[in-house]
Symmetry: none
Amino acid sequence: MAYKRSPLMEERLAANRQRILQAARQLVAAGGLREAQISAVAAEAGLSTGAIYRYFPSKAELFVDVLNEAVRQEIEILDVILAGPGSAAEHLAQCVESFVSRALRGPNLAYAFIAEPAEPEVDAARIRCRMMFGDVFKRVLQDGIERGEFPPQNVDASAACIVGAYTEALVGPIAPATRSVRSQDRLIESVRDFCLRAVGATAVPPAKPPARPRRRARTA
Amino acid sequence: MAYKRSPLMEERLAANRQRILQAARQLVAAGGLREAQISAVAAEAGLSTGAIYRYFPSKAELFVDVLNEAVRQEIEILDVILAGPGSAAEHLAQCVESFVSRALRGPNLAYAFIAEPAEPEVDAARIRCRMMFGDVFKRVLQDGIERGEFPPQNVDASAACIVGAYTEALVGPIAPATRSVRSQDRLIESVRDFCLRAVGATAVPPAKPPARPRRRARTA
Amino acid sequence: MAYKRSPLMEERLAANRQRILQAARQLVAAGGLREAQISAVAAEAGLSTGAIYRYFPSKAELFVDVLNEAVRQEIEILDVILAGPGSAAEHLAQCVESFVSRALRGPNLAYAFIAEPAEPEVDAARIRCRMMFGDVFKRVLQDGIERGEFPPQNVDASAACIVGAYTEALVGPIAPATRSVRSQDRLIESVRDFCLRAVGATAVPPAKPPARPRRRARTA
Amino acid sequence: MAYKRSPLMEERLAANRQRILQAARQLVAAGGLREAQISAVAAEAGLSTGAIYRYFPSKAELFVDVLNEAVRQEIEILDVILAGPGSAAEHLAQCVESFVSRALRGPNLAYAFIAEPAEPEVDAARIRCRMMFGDVFKRVLQDGIERGEFPPQNVDASAACIVGAYTEALVGPIAPATRSVRSQDRLIESVRDFCLRAVGATAVPPAKPPARPRRRARTA
DNA sequence: CATGAATGAGAATTCATTCAT
DNA sequence: TATGAATGAATTCTCATTCAT
């Protein structure tokens, strides 16, 4: 009597959900949370407003999910870096570079989610996310201190500082204008070095030489 | 029908304007921009909503002024520090300490104005303000580099990083919980040292001689 | 600095409040709670929707007030009757007659408030109101029993039955069609006598002879 | 392409229809019409929302049918009583007792359908149903008057009063709280006697000798 | 000039009904 | 035929701004 939900439909639903998340993300990136009303998200996703509520119980929860999704991806990448070879300083450098170069590609989104407030629920989620970023750096720092690469220090504070430093410098509103890829690269280097010095890295690792041309398409 | 504006009235108007700015500031500090509706500001200032519009043409402009006012005071203090005696490193340390200890006294205001978005106009003003903060640190850095205290570096980037680092660590949402004055002091020190290391200060200036009568932390 | 609210304005506000209550009452009378949206009430009252919220915090509270107001008036009248001279049976008869003749003048309102459900808050208020009606009759019954006019009985049950009986018969949907004043009078008498017999009144008081022409204007 | 409708299918369709009616009834009983959205009914019936519309053209018509069905059953039972042996007073007493004891088992349904409004169509149906109840009592009254058991009276009015009295007292919101079966029994007796006195029954029939196999109250 | 009541354009959310699969 | 995802009109409530007094 009860039809099994067909794999086709399953796919459509998942696709719709992604479309909604994507639409919300784009709108936030374009104009901040302020511009991302449910009706706008729906229009952007090619659905009706009512449909949104089939996928997300409220506006707040939708944006919490958008945020979590974005951060999850970011954290995953950082985790891969930490799991890879290299000294703590190299890990730190790579993390900063990675995060920042991604942020520069879609600046407003990163900023909006790092700095923009909204419903209390979204705000709470944002705090959790920033903590997650902080935790990644805390691990790098602890690792570096154990290895003797970094001097002893308050790792909580340093981790927060690192997150603050690079978000402010690179995606925050006072980020020095960086029109060319070239100047972006230099900015990234400067920030990376700032962070390395800040944690007391004894030897700053050389900039990865073949850093730039690697941009691979998102959809394999 | 046409009143000549007496000096007495002039004074009253100025006083009202200050009361409004002060009320707006308090409300933001207490609950963020979200809680600072015009009617609430008016009530707090002991005026009517209509009166607000006699002093400020719109909500946005009011909060732009609130922000500018707050930042102006802050910048003044930093300017005094820079004009005073001491090495660049000492200046830097004092600036960070000063800003942060003030921020810790009224956390939400500092955070709201550093990170909270609003109308585009307010946002623009916030960016200008952060730039002003950045400029102060830029001057310290340039000074330090000229004096040979700091190594050459991208002063724009470093200045932004410093602002980002301490705001994130001290007034941002991931600021490690600091219940006691003691732990706040230690946090400030950690951040200050982070910044000093980051700019390559060769000799970290000694911690300000024991300012407070050693109240022991609860957790040994 | 703070203007005193002028008596004129005070009056206007009170008038507006009454207009809103009146508008809500009319709409309910005309089409039930279903038809009484805030926007319709506002239009009927000659105000904007926003204005309603200056007088009532929510739709539910507005209708609770409408209900309470209507019931308060009714109860007041019943209280006057009880305080007046006469036997318990006469009191009972007068109460039923009074309530019913009023209800017949604005039928739907009475019914809507007796029988129509709405937000839980309004529902709760309605229950309280029905209890208030029941309490009036309970007092009559207790009085009559003490005086030996009525036989001992479950006064709670009887009071509820009386309220139910006359509301059903006179303002409920199965109220026998009563087009003429004449047939209305007969209906009232029938119901009154039903109630009197039901409580065991030994002598049914004679129908008040000069009952009809008495309709006095509400505003003295 | 065109299926011949097999008897088996026919049966299934009828079963589904009953399931829907039953589900709707349960939901109304549990939470009033307010809680009985089409989707909830569908879920309760184990069907899809769309399926509902294959059996009922609209929500209103569904609930009209639910109501009619419920009332039809009730009326049938009353008809059986009237066809049985006994005086008019005994018939009246049994009718009240029967209706009420059933209503007490599923209180909200009875109340919802007696007093709760909805779409105009449902409302119209409810009025018709109440009239049907009224008609049953009218017959009892006429019978009693003919037999000389009851005094002459306005049977329309009395019938309406009876329905109103017992619904209000027993399933209405001001029904005195009746936790135990014992107190329920006493309430039923009180209401029954009220009705008998009200129609002028000369001799109140003795309480039906212990009719029910004394299911003991849960709370001793 | 001060007041604060009034405005009204939104914004979020609900749910009966439809229709492609 | 059954499904349940999608629709979108309808409704409540908010708040910056205006303007009669």
